[in-house]
């Protein structure tokens, strides 16, 4: 995380303390970090995967709609966010690494500092079926 912008560093510090799944991506779409809550939902550990290209995450999580049809990459909130630098939201199904199918609600927001430089994105997602 050293060498990244202060906004990315702050994002990571906060993500590390939250119980909501969070992932942080750089402008090129590399996942720089995902927190323990995301590890639990995805069924993989950041210390095992390390920095991961987003394409690899999609390949393993296989996002689909309610009918089981693959979501076009350009409709994924994180892709929209990284491509257009705008927030985005969508609900869809994913397959965790341990094979469970989970319907998630996902929001991605661009990390654009006050200097107006786009430095990455934060993705927050949660299991829609999960109750308190």
């Amino acid at each position: 995380m050293a060498g990244h912008s202060i906004e990315i560093i702050l994002s990571r510090q906060l993500a590390d303390k939250l119980n909501v799944p969070v992932l942080i991506a750089d402008p090129e779409g590399n996942l720089l970090f995902y927190n323990p809550a995301a590890e639990e939902l995805l069924g993989m550990r950041f210390e095992d995967t390390g920095v991961l290209p987003m394409e690899m995450l999609f390949k393993y999580t296989y996002p689909t709609d309610d009918h089981g049809n693959p979501i076009p990459t350009e409709e994924d909130p994180l892709v929209i966010c990284l491509t257009h630098h705008v927030p985005a939201h969508k609900a869809f199904w994913i397959k965790s690494f341990d094979g469970n199918k989970v319907k998630i609600s996902a929001t991605a927001i661009p990390i654009v500092g006050r200097a107006q430089e786009f430095v990455g994105a934060i993705g927050m997602f949660w299991d829609i079926e999960k109750k308190v």
């Binding site: 303390k17 119980n19 939201h89 929001t107 927001i109 500092g113 949660w126 308190v132």
Partner: protein
């Protein structure tokens, strides 16, 4: 912000560095902070409104659906997140303090630290009509 949990402080630090509107509330729903982009969207500076109880901020913006019908408070993501300590998302209309009607998309997440203590919530929202 002094005297609040570290997660709330980090949330504020991050909110202060983002160009997306952000609200931060305490566990009782009292509004602790909103950032500069939120000030712009809402049409009033935080230093002019100060901290607000939930009953006030949840109604001040007159949240409605597309037909102009007031939405129940439990459909406001930040209210839902405080009550259920779960993430929530919704699209709805609000009236800004300066009289504009704005359609927003809002995601709220509980701020629950690793120790499992609920210390507040934050909402990220955006004008759905706003383009890059």
């Amino acid at each position: 912000m002094a005297g609040h949990a570290i997660e709330v402080i980090l949330s504020r630090q991050l909110a202060d560095s983002l160009n997306i509107p952000v609200f931060i509330v305490d566990p009782e729903g009292n509004l602790l902070f909103y950032n500069a982009p939120a000030e712009e969207l809402l049409g009033r500076r935080f230093e002019d409104t100060g901290e607000m109880p939930m009953e006030e901020w949840s109604t001040s913006f007159y949240p409605t659906d597309a037909d102009g019908t007031p939405i129940p408070s439990d459909k406001i993501p930040l209210v839902s997140s405080i009550k259920n300590q779960m993430p929530a998302h919704n699209n709805f209309w609000i009236n800004s303090f300066d009289g504009r009607s704005v359609n927003i998309s809002a995601t709220a997440i509980p701020i629950v630290g690793r120790a499992g203590k609920f210390v507040g919530a934050m909402a990220l929202f955006w004008d759905t009509e706003s383009k890059v």
